[in-house]
């Protein structure tokens, strides 16, 4: 049976102390808000401002087809005004043609329509390309129908990368706060009288953890609002839609960030039991972020796009880590341990 009013009494006492510590106030309130506004501003705004106005409407090519070819090999010819379906073309020059489902190798193509095809080592000028895979090829003055522009892909990648912030923030803030409230109390010996109160070890640990968890998670949730507004405001003109809040972000911010926050708090309790100054506690505590960043970057690099399932899997992984850390910290946050072995 946990006496929650004891847990809350400890937490509110901590809040009173936070109000008197400008480092804690800074890291809990200012840092998240600042980063949530500054980060999108420096990453998203320049890209959106300077995004070239790449047209996506197909050009009118004035095609005048007078021959249809299917399933043939074409080599070293000059082709004009021909429709090719499922053909292989090599070392060929083509103008005013239509290609469906073809493979073009070392060709020069001008003023043509290419659909569902592959081009290798070729030069494409003034064409409409619709679902064309390009390998070692040059595309000039053409329209990539239905394809994202460089600006669009860059923006989406940037937005996804900034997701990291919502994982890192709830990890770093507890490291700073815990260094003061746990290591600081240990050095000040104010843990000992607390141990004399009629509470269980678990209630003491929950009280300390709640005082860090609640403001950190609240501020993360809150910081998401200006972040979404800024990102949407500046990317809407380029993308033509508001990219946030996406399901990936909602899962990350509202589900995963509390889990990473808990992970960080637990890790910092473990660190606090072994470290004897505030600064090294902060430095060690911030390292908790590393495995998370590595995992996340691996996901970004390895998988084409972040999707909800991937995020849920990621959340599951962190939840598992939370459970392990909880078991370890429960062993360490005991009166006997604190008095005898916390050096």
């Amino acid at each position: 049976m946990i006496q929650w009013e004891k847990v809350w009494t400890i937490a509110t006492k901590e809040f009173k102390e936070f109000r008197r510590n400008k480092y804690i106030l800074y890291s809990i309130i200012l840092m998240p808000l600042l980063l949530a506004t500054v980060l999108p501003a420096i990453y998203v705004i320049p890209v959106s401002m300077f995004a070239a106005d790449e047209s996506k409407t197909p050009m009118d090519l004035h095609l005048n087809i007078n021959l249809n070819n299917s399933y043939i090999e074409v080599r070293e010819v000059y082709a004009a005004n021909i429709e090719f379906t499922s053909c292989n073309l090599t070392n060929t020059v083509a103008t005013g043609c239509i290609f469906y489902n073809c493979t073009l190798t070392n060709c020069v193509v001008e003023g043509s329509q290419l659909n569902d095809s592959i081009v290798l080592g070729s030069t494409i000028t003034k064409c409409n390309l619709n679902n064309v895979t390009r390998i070692n090829s040059t595309v000039l003055g053409s329209v990539l129908v239905g394809e994202m522009t460089t600006a669009e892909t860059t923006l989406l990648l940037l937005i996804n990368t900034m997701l990291l912030f919502f994982l890192i923030m709830p990890t770093i803030v507890p490291a700073v706060v815990a260094s003061y409230t746990i290591v600081g109390e240990k050095l000040n010996r104010s843990l000992e009288p607390l141990l004399m109160t009629p509470t269980t070890d678990l209630e003491l640990m929950l009280g300390k953890s709640t005082s860090i968890f609640v403001p950190t998670v609240l501020m993360t949730y809150l910081a998401f609002v200006p972040f979404v507004l800024i990102v949407d405001f500046f990317t809407y003109p380029v993308l033509g839609y508001a990219p946030l809040p996406s399901d990936v972000f909602v899962i990350a911010v509202y589900l995963i960030s509390p889990l990473t926050c808990a992970l960080s708090i637990l890790a910092n309790i473990i660190i606090s039991s072994r470290v004897n100054d505030v600064r090294s506690a902060q430095q060690l505590g911030s390292l908790v972020v590393l495995p998370m960043v590595i995992l996340f970057i691996a996901a970004l690099a390895g998988v084409a796009s972040l999707n909800a399932w991937l995020m849920l899997g990621f959340g599951g992984l962190i939840l598992a880590a939370d459970v392990v850390m909880l078991l370890i910290s429960l062993r360490l946050f005991k009166r006997e341990e604190i008095l005898v072995n916390w050096k």
Partner: protein
């Protein structure tokens, strides 16, 4: 009642406390003396159910301190002043005490009353809303004592309450402890300040890992040094030494200037005859008084080597 039976505690092979047998009655002020590292703090922590005994048992009002399910009960009847005050320095004295009263579940009207009364008694009322960080060492110590009392505990453990304080602060703390004694609380005082122990305590125990001596301060002195009578004459009379030595009941005699310091097996029974004999032998007696052996003498004899 505090009761320990063969209580002991090790720290990785190091024996900090061993074979401690002790009973402290309710309302008694017990002084626990011993050099640094004697195991005083360790004993108190075991009695407060903060750390577990390695051997033996200890009971507070009959509750076994090792019984985890009863620990909350023990904490409610025990107040502890630890070696360092350990306040929340950015909060005020009132906020600190209010927090602890909350944690002990002291209900609202009583909480404020009790805190105010404690602050008043400890002369802290004017500064109660200032941050503790601005307090002197003595004031911090007083707040720590108030914290130990905020839930009105039956047992108060004071771990070296006057150490590191200036003489004035030490005096206020000492006066407050004697007031606590009047409240009828049981007080367990860890100290190596012998004067404190002598003035405040009904009974003392001298320990160094094990209990070396236990009893009322004067009883201890008597048992260690015998009970002496000091007879001061008008002038030194070394010629009488052998005759005094030969008197009935005299265990030892020694001269210091014009004084005979006579150790007697039973002063009350023997002294009249000894005095009469001295007068008969022509000694001119100025004063007769019982010999005072200070606790310091006892302590040095028990602990020192």
């Amino acid at each position: 009642m505090i009761e320990t039976i063969g209580l002991g505690r090790n720290f990785d092979g190091l024996v900090a406390v061993d074979d401690l047998n002790l009973t402290v009655k309710n309302g008694e002020v017990f002084g626990f003396l011993g050099p640094n590292g004697a195991g005083k703090t360790t004993t108190v922590r075991m009695l407060c159910a903060l750390i577990a005994p390695s051997r033996g048992r200890a009971f507070m009002n009959g509750i076994d301190v090792a019984d985890r399910s009863q620990q909350i009960k023990i904490r409610q009847m025990v107040g502890l002043l630890p070696e360092s005050p350990g306040h929340y320095e950015t909060l005020s004295a009132y906020q600190n005490l209010d927090f602890y009263a909350h944690m002990h579940g002291v209900p609202e009207p009583q909480r404020k009353q009790r805190i105010d009364r404690l602050l008043e008694r400890l002369d802290l009322k004017d500064r109660k809303d200032d941050r503790i960080a601005t307090y002197s060492k003595g004031m911090k110590q007083k707040v720590a004592i108030a914290r130990a009392l905020v839930h009105d505990p039956e047992y108060v453990f004071l771990d070296e309450p006057t150490s590191g304080l200036d003489p004035v602060a030490a005096l206020t703390v000492r006066e407050f402890i004697s007031e606590l004694k009047k409240d009828g609380r049981t007080i367990f005082l860890n100290t190596h300040h012998l004067e404190d122990a002598e003035k405040l305590c009904d009974r003392i125990g001298v320990m160094s890992t094990r209990m070396l001596a236990l009893g009322h301060p004067q009883e201890l002195a008597d048992s260690f040094f015998g009970r002496g009578t000091v007879v001061e004459l008008d002038m030194p009379r070394p010629d009488l030494l052998a005759e005094v030595q030969a008197m009935r009941g005299v265990v030892a005699v020694r001269m210091e200037d014009a004084k005979f310091i006579i150790t007697v097996d039973d002063p009350v029974l023997r002294n009249p005859a000894i005095v009469a004999d001295l007068v008969r032998l022509g000694a001119k007696i100025r004063y007769i008084e019982p010999q005072k052996r200070s606790l310091e003498d006892v302590y040095l004899k028990v602990v020192g080597r």
